[in-house]
Assembly symmetry: C2
Homo-oligomer: 361 residues x 2
């Protein structure tokens, strides 16, 4: 057992949610929206952890402009625990900052790093895995990743390749990581699935704050220097000003590329917890009610239409003879595209930006 | 020349406009909407005739529930000239009623029958044809039809087959009609186009009121008896009550089936006046501004999308990778269907009626 007061959670809520435009906007990214219908995703993320970690030990890093809404969504968190990033500087900077904040509160702190916008349908299994990961990370100074056992040859996720065998901690296998792999081609994804040694990279990590901080010192010295300038201000009244001054100059790199792929002692906990990143409208539609073979959040009248993903909370969408369309209605923008193009929605946002339609971004 | 005070216009504005749902509703059918962008179609129809016929000699028959809006759209027409049908009873009853009203005003009246929802891009040519038709009808007791010279093998219109030669009146050929044909198959339509003796049936007719009344007596005796019950009330204060009592029991049949296809002395004036019935969203789109290969009334952001017909006066419609879709946005309903199915939109309306969603009809 790890002393409860050592366990901290860092929720990374800095995403822009371009893939869920036009429902998500710069002012309301995916993590603030009830994409799956169950509630705002950041709220779900916090609620999943509360049985394990008290609100006082949960930190959230979010975009400057979302601070107020995040505070409203998470009233049980102390105000100081919700940290506004003046600009997004990718996950390594965010995690480095989180580590500094946690070290100030507990020099032996263990940090659980969670993205704010994932779905986990089996939260109890998730908490057991996290508890085992916390034990592993506190005992051995390892970097723990949660690897989702794949259920399909998904090409939209990165993969973690694990060794055949490892130790067992708290009844969970803990396997050394051999490689991280980028999003694979379909054939490769099928091979990964068949082989049984590759896991989806969930972006959920567990480690001691001082251990990840030490790896940043070794592997990302530029970022480390920036964090050193920030560290003294943590917890001080001028922290916000200090953040605004120094955060934008931090090196922007992901923790995967910057640290995990190059560090030693990285392990994976194979996880079965019905996890989804929900990175597209099609993926979100899997969680929605079905109406005559269409996934629907809202109101539709489908005739000879199937496979569509429709988000229209107020307006009736009458579909006649159309298939596999994504339809998203909002008060000022209506989006229509085929499902197989829903990863390219950001192109529309970019075009609007070129046209100066900042009101619609 | 025909004395100007003999010339009357009867505008038939009783259509339901189901093909333009959800923009058109029972309370706002096609003829009241600016489907082509140039103004409400009934207003355009009246304006086209005003250089030829004074407002006092233009009658409009419209649905009961549209009376107020038609009055507002046509302020120059005397109130008595706008006649509310308690129910639609097809064109023969409407024309029979119009003939009675005109006969009350001028026993030698010549009536020009016009649908309220057609587009005529060359109104001057149209007025010349009407003037010639009026002369022909006043001289010879013929039933004059305007036959549009086809410009494509259209399968959505009925056709009038004319004799090779006829007379010439006011510089316009006037040809005996041999047959009326229903909407043809594509192969037949191509043959009609190549042969040069078939014309689109425009639904525009010119005849003396007493002549068409006589044909109704001969060919539609049931309707004639109903009209006789109505006739004495024409122009009297109790006309409205009389209409409500007797109109619903009139025989419901089209003037084409009931009279024109069976009468003698039917002639056609070949017409070149850029006429369109505009019977579908695709047809309407031909009149709209083009935006990157899409027909647009409103606002779109098209990416890799072409051939779409988009009506969205207030909301931006973002299209990504879709082709040949009809998209119609209204405050409470959004319609999406492929262009080739836009003749089946009424099926959606029927389904809504079954579901009791009368608010959306």
């Amino acid at each position: 057992m790890v002393e409860p007061e050592r366990i901290y959670v860092l929720i990374m809520a800095g995403g822009k949610g371009l893939r869920f435009w036009p429902l998500s906007r710069e002012s309301r990214p995916k993590q603030l929206l009830p994409i799956t219908g169950a509630g705002p995703m950041i709220r779900m993320t916090v609620e999943r952890m509360l049985p394990l970690v008290p609100a006082e030990q949960i930190l959230v890093v979010t975009g400057d402009s979302h601070l107020k809404e995040v505070q409203t969504l998470l009233p049980e968190l102390p105000r100081d625990n919700i940290v506004p990033e003046p600009v997004g500087r990718n996950t390594a900077a965010c995690i480095g900052l989180g580590a500094e904040l946690i070290l100030k509160r507990h020099p032996e702190g263990v940090m659980v790093v969670l993205p704010a916008d994932h779905v986990i349908a089996r939260p109890e299994a998730f908490r057991q895995l996290v508890a085992a990961g916390v034990v592993a990370a506190s005992r051995q100074e390892v970097l723990v990743t949660l690897g989702i056992r794949p259920t399909r040859p998904e090409t939209g996720y990165g993969y973690i390749e694990a060794a055949q065998s490892g130790q067992e901690i708290e009844g969970q296998p803990v396997l050394p990581v051999l490689h991280f792999h980028e999003k694979p081609a379909p054939e490769t994804a099928r091979r990964y699935l068949a082989g049984g040694r590759h896991y989806w990279n969930s972006g959920i990590f567990i480690w001691q704050a001082r251990v990840i901080r030490r790896w940043i010192d070794r592997l990302l010295p530029d970022l480390a220097r920036g964090l050193e300038r920030l560290a003294p201000a943590c917890g001080r009244p001028d922290f916000g000003r200090c953040l605004a001054e120094h955060y934008p100059s931090l090196a922007s790199i992901s923790i995967d590329h910057g640290v995990l792929e190059r560090a030693e002692d990285v392990v994976v906990l194979p996880a079965d917890m019905d996890w989804e990143d929900v990175g597209s409208w099609s993926a979100a539609g899997r969680f929605w009610p079905q109406e005559e073979k269409n996934a629907v959040m809202g109101h539709v009248l489908p005739l000879d239409s199937a496979g569509c993903v429709v988000h229209s909370p107020t307006k009736l969408v009458a579909l006649l003879g159309v298939n596999d369309l994504v339809v998203v209605d909002t008060p000022d923008v209506l989006l229509i595209c085929p499902k197989h193009l829903d990863q390219e929605i950001r192109r529309l946002v970019e075009k609007l930006r070129e046209q100066g339609r900042l009101d619609l971004l």
